[in-house]
């Protein structure tokens, strides 16, 4: 599919933004403003339980998601009151600016990290209901990810099944540092459910903090932030080695907020080592880089590079693929200034792939809902 023969037939016409070409923003953030906001989405038992335990007054904020950190919100994307990502008006303005036809919201509510399987599942369910009710209903361009409890595969699958009929949820989101390496077979029921419903798996930066983010517990937020990229390396290795893509060849994994530029060097090591130890994982029948190229996608921001324009070009050359990157602003996080979200010439074929074609090819539900058709020749 090339952008040249796509005609966009959306119900709500989208004005071209800064790129002069429609965009699909594959990672924006919406926040649960407070746990109190989830109370309407709890059943009687859990409502009572939250109140009795004071959970409604507890902020379930992940350590890596400190709301007052400068990175958490660009000054112009930081609401006057409340948490970053809690103002629908700011989000709308941003979508207008970039001419985004659609944007995929990740609501990484910290309740996902609770050790109690049941409570974590209730938190995820409530957060997903909140997103549907308070965000998706209000902004038709918005889509969302299904947040799942990562410490219970069974309840995770249940949440996917419960949400799957709402086609505005276009992917499942897991954290890059959850309970266990993502390739492990215990996770496969999640992938099977996702595959069945046409939902890619987003692997988003973040940790449940059930395990040290590195080889031990670091001391500083600095370490926590930098180490996220290392965890993405671990996960892509696990996904390849365990054979997830042999089992689910059509399933896409979308690495969100990964930093992106670590991947080529990492794959060189994957390839080199695999050639020598192939019999250990005989289900891996292709060079790992080929598998990664086919099955892994990465959201664009943040893009770790001193000179992003030059490095983006090099990255595409090294990966030998212009199909892997998905446009994202990572709204409201502060990774770039103004409208400098895409380090490529906006009229280039690469820019169009990143902005639109790649997201469409990644998300079957977006493709269906945007009613994109190939124009007659």
């Amino acid at each position: 599919m090339s952008s040249a023969n796509i005609s966009l037939q959306s119900n709500a016409p989208v004005r071209p933004g800064v790129f002069g070409h429609p965009a699909i923003d594959c990672d924006v953030h919406v926040a649960v403003p407070s746990t109190q906001a989830l109370m309407p989405y709890l059943d009687a038992y859990w409502f009572d339980s939250f109140m009795a335990r004071g959970m409604n007054r507890t902020s379930y904020t992940l350590t890596g998601d400190a709301p007052n950190a400068p990175l958490a919100a660009r000054p112009d994307w930081r609401p006057k009151d409340g948490r970053p990502g809690s103002d629908v008006g700011l989000l709308r303005n941003m979508l207008d600016t970039f001419g985004s036809t659609a944007a995929i919201a990740n609501c990484i509510f910290g309740g996902v990290a609770l050790h109690s399987e049941d409570t974590a599942a209730v938190m995820c369910k409530a957060a997903n209901d909140f997103v549907a009710d308070q965000w998706l209903d209000k902004e038709p361009r918005l889509r969302a990810s299904i947040l799942i409890p990562l410490n219970s595969i069974e309840l995770a699958v249940e949440e996917i099944e419960r949400r799957a009929d709402d086609k505005r949820f276009v992917q499942v989101v897991m954290l890059v540092m959850g309970q266990d390496l993502l390739g492990k077979r215990k996770h496969w029921p999640i992938y099977e459910a996702a595959r069945r419903h046409g939902l890619p798996i987003a692997v988003h930066a973040g940790s449940l903090y059930h395990h040290p983010p590195m080889a031990g517990w670091g001391s500083f937020a600095y370490e926590d932030y930098v180490a996220q990229a290392f965890s993405f390396e671990n996960q892509v290795l696990s996904l390849v080695a365990e054979g997830v893509f042999q089992k689910f060849p059509e399933l896409k994994f979308v690495f969100s907020e990964s930093g992106v530029t670590w991947l080529p060097a990492c794959l060189w090591r994957f390839n080199k080592t695999w050639r020598g130890v192939r019999p250990e994982i005989p289900w891996v029948k292709r060079i790992p880089a080929d598998i990664v190229r086919d099955n892994i996608r990465l959201t664009l921001q943040p893009f770790d590079a001193h000179d992003p324009r030059r490095e983006l070009q090099r990255w595409v050359e090294q990966m030998r693929s212009d199909r892997m990157l998905l446009f994202s602003t990572d709204f409201p996080h502060w990774h770039f200034e103004g409208t400098d979200a895409l380090p490529a010439d906006v009229s280039s074929p690469l820019a169009r792939r990143i902005l639109f074609d790649n997201p469409l090819e990644t998300y079957p539900r977006l493709r269906a809902s945007l009613n994109v058709t190939e124009a007659a020749a």
Partner: protein
């Protein structure tokens, strides 16, 4: 000893009793090092230099082919038909020269190896290269 036809050259590379079943021998084929294998009485020959860093495949370990239909399922077939480069473990099929470390992109050349009687070989106008061919013996002949 070599003989050239219109398009092919035949090299007598070993007496059959030099390379018994399960054994291998590094031979010279017109200046090229070639790894010759005897697999249960059948002879196979592939280029000796690993395409990676030119390790001598003839010095590698002969293993079976590890295969899988899906993750967690393991199967070993074709015992002794895969040679692993002694340097970095790249695997090659001794029948075809195809690699298993990157089947679509990496291979070594496979040569046609056959057994012929000395009595047949000495009939032609041959030039002896490395050894004398005797009428009573069998020889491995590689066609290039």
């Amino acid at each position: 000893m070599t003989t050239a036809t219109a398009s092919k050259t035949r090299f007598v590379v070993a007496r059959t009793d030099e390379v018994k079943p399960g054994q291998r021998k590094l031979v010279d084929v017109g200046g090229r090092p070639v790894a010759l294998f005897n697999l249960n009485g059948d002879y196979f020959a592939i280029g000796d230099k690993c395409p990676h860093e030119a390790g001598s495949l003839c010095a590698g370990k002969l293993v079976g082919l590890a295969e899988s239909d899906e993750p967690g399922h393991y199967r070993l077939s074709r015992p002794g038909e895969v040679i692993k480069c002694p340097w970095h473990g790249w695997e090659f099929d001794i029948r075809t020269g195809q690699s298993y470390c990157e089947p679509s992109a990496v291979r070594v050349r496979a040569y046609e190896a056959s057994v012929e009687h000395g009595g047949e070989l000495v009939k032609g106008p041959f030039r002896a290269e490395t050894f004398q061919v005797a009428v009573e013996d069998d020889y491995v002949v590689i066609t290039l």
